[in-house]
């Protein structure tokens, strides 16, 4: 027998597809150069551009950037949803298990050691993210410890990394420090479009792994004891979830730095709108995360054009008030 979903579940998929499509269209249209809609569509459809510059802007600047924003937003949204359930903490975001500190430390260390290869900083950030999560997993004895231990261990590892990071920034000459600050505020302009296929494949595998654990996530939200009583191998489920969620976060950090807020607020919005079942929540969070970051990035590229505002500023400025509105709506409901 099918369990009926929340009342708005029926409009879920059409709404998400429309939202994602609209966000993608906005992102392709937004930019420092005013290009008419028709021309953007024409170039996207493969038609010859009016000038090589317009062609390059649509196909080699906006398109890769929109795909990157969508990929990073989807990764952060779905990983955030999984971490909130796994840690049973509404304040959990994808970076909570020491990832922000570890990834930033890796990236800034690479920058201040004078790394010049384009791949060095993403690779170092990825390594830092994976290392800090692995360390948190081991010290918190995550296969049997409580979620609180995991969170506290994550915060401690993050703080330790932040201290090292502050020291590096203090000791570094001004330019690498400036590049690092951009990276810490989230930067969608740095990634090489050539990395996108590999990153998309990686994220798809990790997301599939996460989605396959939807039932386990539903059980874990009831508490480890209940989940274990109901026959869940809690240790194994946690390891799988942390590996898949961590893989998503580490990849997005390597591609775009630390883009705040998406992974925290998007899963809450989905839960408030369409209920807590993870079979729905994870893909919906991915779609909404992608749409949210597409719009935020479009705004960041246009609001002070030709200058670009860090995208993290926009995600928080737009996201926080919207989230407060959702909270009030939910509290107001009987």
């Amino acid at each position: 027998m099918r369990v009926p979903g929340p009342p708005r579940a029926r409009v879920l998929w059409p709404a998400l597809v429309l939202g994602l499509g609209g966000a993608f269209a906005f992102s392709m249209w937004a930019g420092a150069l005013r290009l008419p809609w028709s021309e953007v569509l024409w170039i996207l459809a493969g038609g010859p551009a009016a000038s090589p510059t317009h062609g390059a802007i649509v196909m080699r600047v906006r398109l890769p950037r929109a795909l990157l924003a969508a990929l990073v937003g989807a990764s952060l949204g779905s990983a955030g949803g999984a971490f909130q359930a796994l840690l049973r903490n509404p304040l959990a975001d994808p970076y909570i298990l020491g990832v922000s500190g570890g990834a930033a430390l890796g990236a800034v260390a690479a920058l201040s050691l004078g790394a010049t290869s384009a791949l060095a900083v993403p690779a170092a950030a990825f390594a830092g993210a994976v290392a800090s999560m692995g360390f948190v997993y081991v010290v918190a004895r995550a296969h049997r410890g409580s979620p609180h231990t995991l969170i506290l261990a994550g915060v401690m590892v993050g703080s330790f990394c932040s201290a090292l990071l502050l020291f590096l920034l203090w000791a570094a000459p001004a330019d690498p420090a400036r590049a690092a600050v951009f990276w810490l505020a989230g930067d969608l302009s740095g990634a090489d479009p050539g990395w996108l296929p590999a990153a998309a494949a990686w994220a798809s595998v990790a997301f599939a792994g996460l989605w396959a654990q939807s039932a386990a996530l539903d059980l874990l939200t009831q508490g480890e004891d209940v989940a274990a009583d109901l026959g869940l191998d809690v240790g194994r489920a946690r390891l799988l979830l942390l590996a898949c969620g961590g893989g998503l976060v580490a990849a997005s950090v390597a591609l775009a730095g630390l883009v705040g807020f998406v992974g925290l607020v998007v899963p809450h919005a989905v839960r408030a709108l369409w209920g807590p079942a993870h079979r729905r929540l994870l893909p919906a969070s991915a779609a909404l995360g992608a749409a949210f970051l597409l719009v935020a990035d479009g705004v960041s590229r246009t609001v002070l054009a030709p200058a670009e505002v860090p995208v993290g500023v926009i995600t928080a400025l737009v996201g926080a008030p919207f989230f407060l509105y959702l909270l009030r709506q939910r509290e107001g409901r009987p």
Binding site: L33, A56, V61, T116, D175, P176, S189, L304, P306
Partner: protein
């Protein structure tokens, strides 16, 4: 605040023009050591010895100026960013320009400290003054400011002739380049501070003044940020005729960054030109070198040879 700064600049300039006497010598004879009273770039009153014997510079450009005007031998301490001229490297260090150590400064027992309004922490200035150490604050944000700052630093350091000579040399270089490019077409120029990320100079910066003086037109419009970050799209849309780059620690070969955009005029015509960063962005005597380098990059048909031609 802004108005205050501008007013003080104006006052300083007016005073400087008047027979080069910016100083008001305090009550003759009443004081054993002669002292001069100055108004610095923040409009603060600074009382310092007529010819300070131990100077600490917290500003790399002021360190350069002090050496150029002939007061380098009286420098007692500098920051670890004061790397030019080479003699500056051998002086005792008091920390970075934004976080110098109060104790290290005091330990050198200076009778005058130079700071800058945009880098020296105001709290440090207050503490130094409370300890009886005068702090003269400079704030050069344009080419004209830089000429005046050089002149003023010469006066305050007790070598007015040196200050005048170095300031006039820079002013003359500016005027010669300006008159040489008069009436020439002005190519669109993008002046890049760094390329990863792409940070560019907008109007209201020293680099902008230099490229205007060298007969170029800045393609960056005035905006909120003096040094905004640009995406690839802004770069392609602006399509400058000349791009000026400087190597920076994250990217020793900044020209490489632009090779990925063969759509750019500057790339196809080979007009991505490298100029050393300190020649363009450090408000000191070496701006003349930066100006010549820019003029050669923008108008190679006029400035074929070395400086001065």
């Amino acid at each position: 605040m802004r108005a205050q700064i501008e007013a003080s600049h104006l006052i300083r300039r007016t005073l400087a023009r008047k027979a080069g006497a910016l100083a008001l010598v305090l009550g003759a004879g009443a004081l054993a050591a002669r002292a001069a009273v100055w108004t610095d770039a923040l409009g603060r009153r600074v009382e310092a010895p007529d010819r300070p014997g131990r100077i600490v510079s917290l500003v790399p450009s002021v360190t350069e100026i002090l050496f150029a005007v002939g007061a380098g031998d009286r420098l007692a301490g500098v920051t670890r960013f004061c790397t030019y001229p080479p003699a500056a490297r051998r002086l005792p260090k008091v920390g970075g320009y934004a976080d110098p150590s109060l104790e290290a400064i005091v330990a050198l027992s200076p009778d005058l400290v130079f700071g800058a309004a945009d880098s020296t922490p105001p709290a440090l200035i207050r503490r130094l003054e409370a300890l009886g150490i005068p702090v003269y604050v400079v704030y050069p944000r344009s080419l004209r400011d830089t000429v005046e700052t050089i002149r003023t630093v010469g006066y305050v350091a007790g070598v007015p002739e040196g200050g005048r000579a170095v300031a006039d040399a820079l002013q003359n270089a500016v005027e010669r380049v300006r008159s040489a490019v008069q009436g020439l077409p002005r190519p669109g120029v993008l002046l890049c501070i760094m390329v990863r990320p792409l940070v560019v100079a907008s109007p209201g910066t020293l680099g902008h003044d230099l490229l205007e003086a060298a007969g170029g037109r800045n393609v960056v419009p005035p905006g909120t940020a003096r040094y905004p970050t640009w995406g690839a799209e802004s770069l392609l849309a602006a399509d400058p005729e000349v791009i000026i780059v400087s190597p920076h620690p994250g990217e020793p070969v900044p020209e490489r960054f632009f090779e990925q955009w063969p759509e750019l005029r500057a790339v196809t015509s080979g007009r991505v030109v490298r100029v050393e960063s300190d020649w363009l962005h450090r408000p000191g005597p070496r701006l003349a070198k930066g100006l010549w380098a820019l003029a050669r990059a923008l108008h190679p048909e006029v400035f074929r040879g070395g400086e001065g031609r």
